[in-house]
Amino acid sequence: MPRMTESEVFDKFAQIVAKSLRMDGPKIAPETHLTDLGAESLDLIEITMETETQFHIFLPDKSILETAVEVFGPGILENDGYLTAEGKRFLLRRLPQADARAFEGEVAVKDLQSYFLKVSTWVKMIQDLAQYTPAQCESCDGPMVPSMGFRMKCAQCGREITLRSGEELNREWVREYYDREYRSQAETSVSATAIQ
């Protein structure tokens, strides 16, 4: 795909949402929440499918926090439904466009819904994932076109590739963060305690 600008992604995504919810596109702004537009759970599924088809990407099937909790183990990022300091640090790093003030004080997991359901969050996610969808064939530079399932095919030489899944990419990001920013820090604090 030729690299799309944020506003191109936004326009295309807003059209998908408008069509799925049978409403006017102009009512959708980057700050709009999909549930505020009346989207129900199956509407979100429909929007996900259409987004994947139109942008040739493979969206993750759970939030980055869920994936991170699976990698970190229970109780580290979230405790009894509330973000820990570590959890806030993680999310602010992962979601640089998030408002740091929104992470002050007690933050419940349910409050993050409003963030994950925001149009601008989807636009950012689509842009991030679209990087992994090649526009041209690696072998012959021919144009890549969608094939069956989450696959792309070169129109010229027929070479096929499988798209990276959003879930897999999220997991890789989390693992890297865990090794680089969490484990090393946790080890440092353990050795610091040992010295004392």
Binding site: I45, D61, E70, D80, K110
Partner: protein, 372 residues
């Protein structure tokens, strides 16, 4: 004064228990309410039934009118379910404003009743609740047991959908769906979706673990039963369900499909073995057959009508007893009709197989075992 009574008790309220095909199970202390329209203007209703904290939330709610209306409709249904439960079971009359429903940190609705002060009473009496709304209809299911976990969901069949199965279901689940006759598939795809949603709500964290972490292993079209097995992140949320599927009941009523599940935390109902079913049937038949003077020993091969002297009425009583015992509806009417048509008899063995097939992991209270 009971404003709520006059507001809510109109023709739009269904209180006849769960939708057809969803048995209340071993939960007599439960109430199910379906509402298809707001009993009065939204703002009037909000002022009369919401607690101060709820009213604050209502005032802060943004978004389209549909969203606010359905939220309020859900609150009406939920408060009516809790109110009727307290009245019926405890003979205690609550005002809707005394019943406060606030979400926990994960979004699961928690009930508190401001007029109940004593902590010990509170602990024992607070109901577990689940609410769902879609396309202008809301349902709520409340169980007077804080240890119970409940989940309900509904979807409209009138709202045409793209084929969401590609995302919502695994290849195994899709082949389960495709094994059904084509005219049933749209309805059952929605039932399967609702089943996943209901389990997610009962666990308390929705479908956050991912759609495929709620894996449907079996569907029984005759009874509406759907078995859901937890995997990965969902299994971490409900570790007691390892290796044991959860039973969700689904039903179609007018152009909606509904799903419901109730279970007690830490208690898992096991599917009885075939031998256990046979033992129960023999015992029950002994009880029902008044003149049990059959000379030969009664065994699996004994025939219900010609040998054991059951008449059609007796058979109906037996079938009812079996369904009550296992808290599971089974298509006995079809079985008896088939036997009538073919003019043949039914052995205890055949009856056992029939029950075994239709239990599919659903068993009655007697089969309940506490998980360590």
């Amino acid at each position: 004064m009971d404003v709520f009574d006059s507001l809510v008790y109109d023709s739009s309220v269904t209180q006849a228990g769960l939708p057809v095909g969803c048995p209340l199970g071993p939960w007599p202390e439960s109430a199910y309410v379906r509402l298809d329209e707001l009993p009065s203007a939204p703002n009037v209703l909000a002022d009369s039934i919401l607690s101060p904290a709820e009213r604050e939330f209502w005032a802060s709610m943004r978004g389209v009118e549909k969203r606010r209306r359905e939220w309020l409709l859900g609150r009406c249904a939920a408060k009516e379910a809790v109110r009727s439960l307290f009245e019926r079971v405890l003979d205690q009359h609550l005002l809707p404003g005394e019943i406060e429903i606030v979400p926990d940190a994960f979004g699961r609705p928690l009930v508190s009743v401001s007029s109940i002060q004593a902590a010990s009473v509170k602990e024992r009496l607070l109901p577990s609740l689940s609410i769902a709304h879609s396309q202008g209809t809301a349902v709520a299911l409340a169980v007077l047991n804080p240890e119970a976990r409940v989940g309900v969901d509904l979807e409209s069949l009138d709202h045409p959908r793209e084929d969401f199965g590609a995302i919502a279901f695994s290849p195994d689940e899709r082949s389960l769906l495709n094994s059904l006759p084509p005219d049933l598939r749209q309805e059952w795809a929605l039932r399967m979706w609702c089943a996943k949603e209901a389990v997610g709500k009962a666990l308390g964290r929705g479908l956050s673990a991912g759609l495929l972490a709620f894996h449907i292993t079996r569907i029984v079209t005759a009874s509406g039963l759907i078995e859901v097995e937890l995997r990965d992140g969902a299994l971490e949320q409900g570790p007691q369900w390892r290796g044991k599927p959860l039973n969700v009941y689904t039903a179609r009523e007018s152009n909606f499909v509904f799903s419901a599940i109730i279970y007690q935390q830490g208690v898992v109902r096991m599917k009885p073995s075939r031998q256990e079913i046979l033992d129960y049937l023999l015992h029950k038949m002994g009880e029902l057959a008044q003149d049990w003077d059959y000379p030969d020993p009664v065994g699996p091969e004994s025939l219900l009508f010609t040998e054991l002297g059951f008449e059609s009425l007796g058979a109906v009583v037996l079938c009812t007893a079996i369904q009550e015992h296992y808290q599971t509806p089974m298509p006995f009417a079809e079985l008896l009709a088939e036997i009538g048509q073919q003019q043949r008899d039914l052995s205890i063995n055949e009856l056992t197989d029939f029950v075994d097939t239709h239990l599919g992991g659903a068993a009655g209270a007697e089969a309940t075992r506490r998980v360590q």
